[in-house]
Amino acid sequence: MASSALKEQQRDLENKANDLSKLQKDIAKNHQVRKKYTIQLGENELVLKELDLLQEDANVYKLIGPVLVKQDLAEANANVRKRIEYISAELKRLDAALQDLEEKQTSKKDAIYKLQQRIQSLQAGKAKA
């Protein structure tokens, strides 16, 4: 009876550990994506700064696949701005997701810790018996 309960709890613990590792993977992924976006944001900001410094009549091209496509400066500017906005929004979203994940992680850790303790006490009880 006690041993079956113990087994069940151990299975439970295993499941939770798996969940936790999944969460940690998610967090790592989130970090990676965020890093990428941060770099892109920096790059876009640099581009915007340079575009702002250009004269009205400067030729701006965008590399699309193998070809350079001529673009209007104003258009390019608007595009970059939009891109920055998008990236910022994405970053914010990622931040929120990360926070959520971290909360989940701590709660999972707590649960696992408690389970471990219970299993230990069960084992101790078994050893005595």
Partner: protein, 334 residues
Amino acid sequence: MAKAEKKGTVTSLASLFPPDEARKASQRVLDTLVEHERELHQLNQFVSDNNNVIDLVQRLPEQLHHDIMVPFGKAAFFPGRIIHTNEFKVLLGENYYVDRTSKQTTEILKRRGNTLQSQVDSIKAVMQDLKAEASFFDATASEAAEGLVEIREDYIEEASSETVSHADMKTADEDEEYARLFSRMDELEKEELEAENGDECESEDGDVKDLGNQVSLDNRVKNLEVLFNFLEQDLSYQLNERSTSFMCSHEASKVQPASKVLPRTSGPHNTHTAMSKPSISDKEQRIQLQTTPTNEAFTGSIVEHTHNTDSNLRGQSNSSKKTVSRFKMQRMQH
């Protein structure tokens, strides 16, 4: 490891921070440090690349055309020449290109160099932090390995014995402070007394003179102003002597300024004595009239008045004319 002592516990540092754990931590920090070093190296490479490009871009328009080998595909080159040496297509990032002249390109590249430099700086700062952290972990590890112990004493146990010593220390501190205060007071009093003595002598002289010498009214007013602080003190002091109840109301307003006024009055007083001679005599006469019955005030006999015991502050204001020992006596009474 923890040994129960009479007061508190002794814990070896090794049990709190196992040496190999601390070492592991320091190792981890060192790893990140190495990573940052690599990043820094890369950044430095970027910086030098950037500088090279700036150089090249500045040199290119020096001639109308350059003979070069043009890369073609992966492994082939064919001879060619660069014409339009002052026209560049600059990649701004995000696949945006822009037509620029050599000069404009240089500017863009320089701006890029600045951003790179700031990145280098920030990474260097981070590395410094990491180094400090690593050395801290190392120190902890070695301390733990050496068998350093942490001694912890229970607060509750301390409370009974410690409070007493604390209080002692406090009073000791206070005593010291008082002593310092007194010595300062002493100095000021001496000055005051000297000034006063001078005044009194002079005023008595002036008394005689004043009978003959009539001084103009506004001169007197001016002098009165100068004397005001001093006289007020005198009055309050004498009133103290007279009646406790009256003094209380008067003192209430006087007490605090009195101590502040003291150092100030001694200055102007000294300087003005000569000029205010006649009017002093005038005022002083009146005061003297008042004081004559309680003239002992100046001799220092007032010490034992009833009101003296009730507050230190009052004592201070009184003492402006008294010898130091009185303070100490009061302190002792307290």
